[in-house]
Symmetry: C2
Subunit: 259 residues, 2 copies
Amino acid sequence: MSHDNRPSRPLELAPQIANPCQACAVRVHSVCGALEPAELNRLAAITTQTEAEPGETIFIEGDPADHLFVVTGGGVRMYKLLPDGRRQITGFIFTGDFLGLALYDNYAYSAEAMTKLQLCRFPRRKLEKLLDEFPKLERRLLKTASNELAAAQDQMLLLGRKTAREKIATFLLSLSERAIRRGERGDVIALPMSRGDIGDYLGLAIETVSRTFTRFKKLGVVYHSNPREAKILDRETLQHIAGMAEDMSLTATAAFRRR
Amino acid sequence: MSHDNRPSRPLELAPQIANPCQACAVRVHSVCGALEPAELNRLAAITTQTEAEPGETIFIEGDPADHLFVVTGGGVRMYKLLPDGRRQITGFIFTGDFLGLALYDNYAYSAEAMTKLQLCRFPRRKLEKLLDEFPKLERRLLKTASNELAAAQDQMLLLGRKTAREKIATFLLSLSERAIRRGERGDVIALPMSRGDIGDYLGLAIETVSRTFTRFKKLGVVYHSNPREAKILDRETLQHIAGMAEDMSLTATAAFRRR
DNA sequence: CGGGACTTTGAGCAAATTCAACCATTGTGG
DNA sequence: CCACAATGGTTGAATTTGCTCAAAGTCCCG
């Protein structure tokens, strides 16, 4: 258990030799992509590159929200806890994603590295100053927030109204879509998170996650070479199981049904 | 069923005699509060005041997101549907709240009037132009989005990990806190939504909502003079049942527990 | 080779849902 | 003004989904 690893320390490397943002591979996918190369210097000036080990805590719910982050490599789980230890993972974050979007004084959730992690860290105060200067950046952040809000609503639908099978199917498909969006192949999916993480993300017990995976495997829908990888064999069926909420915008007729 | 009432029509009143925003009672509580009285004219110029009847649809998930709204009177439910009609209510919105925060092309959810409703309607394009002009407004919107994101995460915790009793207790307390924040009394709570709405908001069957209310009543925690009103008799116990996730920031020790 | 963490599988159980009546309130037409 | 339909809410019984508890299997690392 590595929760006593408090927020990470600056990287050992010399930080500002050249502008690290210029060379950053994930820039285009992330908020930083809103800025012109010339403007990037201003961003680079307030950036500290840091790392974290698997299991290490980036910040804890309730901590003063002094920093915002961009993940430049690795995966993060965000979560909230109940006093008795029950945990809800509110999201997984991967390379290129923004972490810590909170314009309030304290983090609303905790964040932990799932894998070895590289991060860019921005002091919140300084970043807010930069927002005043570059409206483009602020607009981008607003769109990011808007995006996350939509994702959160999808997740509410999943948590509140989908069955275990539907939850797992939706989860696999959304990981697949995320991969495709990043130009990776969509059929072989890496699962950097544990069964427990998946359960706490989908509102299921760890055993239910495992059983459901097994069921999908027996159905021939998914194949696992090992627990940390899933290969989608029958996307059609998976989409069918997931409930296909995605098609809603097209059908729209269902909006007239009530239970 | 009144779902064929499509987006509402302009109010009968002469719209621009004086600046209606100047006199607006909910301004301070809402995004409009970000602007100086002088700047309000610009906002007023793109505003249309409209109304809607109970049950009337404001917009449907997937519709082009042409307008944003501020609720100036009444209550709204936002929801998403699965193709088979299962519904998840993603939030209730009341007087002073912003509706339709979506900087993308289509609404991510549907919105329906729960009560007789007054709204200010802003064309999205024009409002976005105004954002360029008034960074204050954009910052306010970003804070609003940030806020909603935090609320969405709380709701995920509730949906994924709380029991029926905890859900109902949390729901009552959050309605109470909202009322207090608005300067109303916190013990007598109006429930403008039906049991079905509450169930679809909390991820419960309608019968479970009803049974849990009855249980609370028998426990002497809550009293209902009628189904649309709840009076909190024993706030302590209610908070205890709710799981008190709110205190997390103080205790923090629980962050080290795992299941 | 052995310990530990994670995963899978099985059996029994419990919380919440479903199905089915019944009750209460409101509005309508005779 | 009353009867009664309609809507929404409550209550009960049976069922089910997913959880808990328990044990065994797998993989990784030292």
